[in-house]
């Protein structure tokens, strides 16, 4: 086999190459600025770079529809290009752009290394979504994780941030070591590192009689992989780090961590499990066992996340538990997709719903955390009482927070409603109506604590009602983009959903 680099190969990783160029540009530019100058421009370069790469990528996909709608393998089966990769990459670039914009007004984050780490993490996420090989997946996942450990602990002057960083690091290293061990077992069983090849081999093996030691090795490996991925998406019982890391991290980083990192975790979760690496769940088969485990995790994640969120007095901690619950809803999409893959006519509804949900979640949660950044800047705390009477202090911010909270809760004019609706619809289609029912009940519980915050914002009074909150132009633009996107995805949900379903067909066929 002679190694050769074709144009398609380069196109498949062009967004990552562009991000790499942006990374170098940011580092060089940062070096040119004097130490005591302000680093606003470095952040602006990052945000503009992300926006340009995003538009370039979408334009390229629009000009060459074959390139964007056909899943193809590149670089010797390491990287897969196609609509799934494209949609996840779009989410990460959006998250990078918005996070950079919202970071501009946070003084302790005005360092070149902060923006460089943000871009490195995005490259890691990008490669995670594009990986078609276990080695690639591992390297990409660690690129993203290691940058995130540093981002969470970035504010070295704060006790909370450093503590959150080390907690996130210890749990993260633990989960990834377990995941790597599971992957090495999978490699031992199949002798291949390519996800699609492993899927085919295991599928063929399951058609005949499988020796019991192979089945048990596959099950152990499945449990270990689930542990690693569930850590990334913060699903119960691998959620312990979430509240601490989310509360302690600089708030902007929390927004990035809760959206982009979760989306990347789900990208690999879907990729690996929908390829049939551990077989497809059918009653009576061994593969039913890990599927049932995923269902149990999905239910636990929703219930525990929502019920623990009710008691929180710190809004970042509340949103951390809410983000655990949201991971539960997205897992419902995964579970439904996997179940339907065992059927005769597989349906991609679960995958499409999850992609739509993650996209709307990126906008919604970054909006929510961006507003927390602005509100908490004066008081330097993120307690619920800092939000009392927000509508008097800044009506526009209050309105934006209202839209974000309604979207998180799933109230109609916002994208969150359709996100939940599509997920529950996919679950019902896969004959999991009882799971959808649990999800709907949970959504009502969640409404309670989201609307409590709305009550604080609009009905409560605080002593500093007359203290205005200043919003810089960059933060204003960032928030406006998120809110418009949340409303747009809510009103024209169908066009985005059609695209997501079409993209998700790849999970079924590939």
């Amino acid at each position: 086999m002679t190694p050769s680099i074709s144009l398609e190969n380069v196109l498949a990783i062009l967004p990552d190459l562009a991000l790499l160029v942006l990374l170098i540009a940011v580092i060089v530019y940062n070096g040119l600025i004097a130490d005591d100058d302000d680093r606003r421009n470095v952040g602006l370069v990052t945000a503009w770079g992300a926006a340009i790469i995003l538009f370039g990528m979408l334009l390229l996909a629009f000009i060459y529809p074959d390139y964007s709608m056909q899943p193809t393998l590149h670089w010797g089966g390491m990287v897969v290009a196609g609509p799934v990769t494209l949609s996840f990459r779009a989410m990460f670039l959006i998250a990078l752009m918005l996070t950079a914009l919202l970071s501009l007004d946070v003084p302790e984050l005005q360092r070149g290394s902060y923006f460089a780490l943000l871009i490195t993490a995005t490259i890691g996420f990008d490669m995670m979504a594009a990986s078609a090989d276990l080695i690639m997946l591992l390297v990409a996942l660690e690129t993203a994780s290691i940058s995130l450990y540093l981002l969470v602990g970035f504010n070295t002057r704060s006790r909370r941030s450093t503590e959150a960083g080390i907690k996130y690091f210890v749990y993260g290293a633990f989960a990834s070591a377990i995941m790597m061990y599971g992957m090495s077992l999978l490699y031992g069983v199949t002798g291949s590192t390519n996800i699609a090849v492993i899927g085919t081999m295991v599928g063929n093996a399951f058609a005949g009689v499988v020796p019991v030691e192979i089945i048990s090795l596959l099950l152990v490996s499945a449990v270990m992989l689930v542990a690693g991925f569930a850590f990334k998406v913060s699903a119960v019982p691998f959620h312990f780090w979430t509240p601490d890391a989310y509360e302690g991290a600089p708030t902007v980083v929390t927004g990035f961590l809760s959206t982009a990192s979760k989306a990347a975790g789900f990208a690999v979760f879907f990729r690996v499990f929908s390829a049939g690496v551990f077989g497809y769940p059918e009653p009576g088969r061994a593969s039913w066992a890990w599927w049932a485990m995923l269902v149990a995790m999905c239910i636990l994640t929703m219930v525990l996340g929502n019920f623990l969120a009710i008691w929180q007095q710190d809004i970042k901690r509340m949103l951390a538990y809410s983000s655990i619950a949201q991971a539960g809803y997205i897992m419902m999409g995964l579970v439904a997709l996997l179940k339907s893959q065992g059927d005769d006519v597989p349906s991609a509804a679960g995958g499409g719903a999850a992609i739509f949900y993650l996209l709307m979640y990126v906008f919604t949660n970054i909006a929510a955390f961006g507003i927390i950044v602005l509100v908490s800047r004066k008081s330097n705390s993120t307690q619920m009482k800092d939000f009392y009477g927000l509508s008097r202090r800044s009506p526009w911010l209050a309105l934006a927070m209202l839209v974000a909270l309604l979207s998180l809760g799933g109230i109609p004019p916002t994208a969150g409603f359709f996100g939940k609706f599509f997920i529950f619809q996919a679950a019902v289609e896969a004959d999991l109506w009882w799971l959808a029912a649990i999800g709907i009940l949970n959504a009502f519980v969640a409404l309670f604590y989201y609307l409590t915050v709305v009550k604080y914002i609009y009905l409560y009074r605080s002593d500093d009602d007359d203290v205005r909150i200043t919003v810089s132009r960059a933060a204003g633009v960032g928030l406006a983009i998120t809110i418009v996107a949340v409303l747009y995805l809510g009103i024209f949900a169908n066009s985005a959903y059609t695209w997501a379903i079409e993209a998700a067909q790849n999970f079924v066929q590939f």
């Binding site: 290691i146 540093l150 909370r160 210890v170 992957m183």
Partner: protein
């Protein structure tokens, strides 16, 4: 030749020791060392599987090199975080990191 299972048993033991160390140790540096043990167990697995299952394809070897690199990067970042915590509160004992809790 030594059977494959011997290597796998060593690797599983090493992994378990690492897991135990991570759960039982209170010092963050010791926890980091435990993680390194777990990653070494992964490497033993990978190289053994490569040698016995697919000696003609170097994927397992390449993978082990990547795991080594990842372990090095993780140790560097982990020690950096441990130092930044130590500067804030003169301790790297896990139980004393309790600013963030329910």
């Amino acid at each position: 030749m030594i059977p494959l299972s011997w290597y796998l048993i060593v690797s599983a033991l090493l992994f378990s020791i690492g897991l135990f160390g991570l759960l039982a140790r209170r010092n963050a540096v010791a926890m980091l060392m435990a993680v390194e043990l777990m990653l070494n167990a992964v490497n033993i697995n990978l190289v053994a599987f490569w040698r016995y299952q697919t000696p003609e394809a170097p994927a397992g070897l390449a993978w082990a090199v990547f795991v080594l690199t990842i372990a090095a990067a993780e140790a560097a970042v982990g020690l950096a975080l441990i130092i930044s915590v130590y500067r804030r509160r003169d301790s790297v004992i896990a139980e004393e990191l309790d600013t963030l809790k329910f």
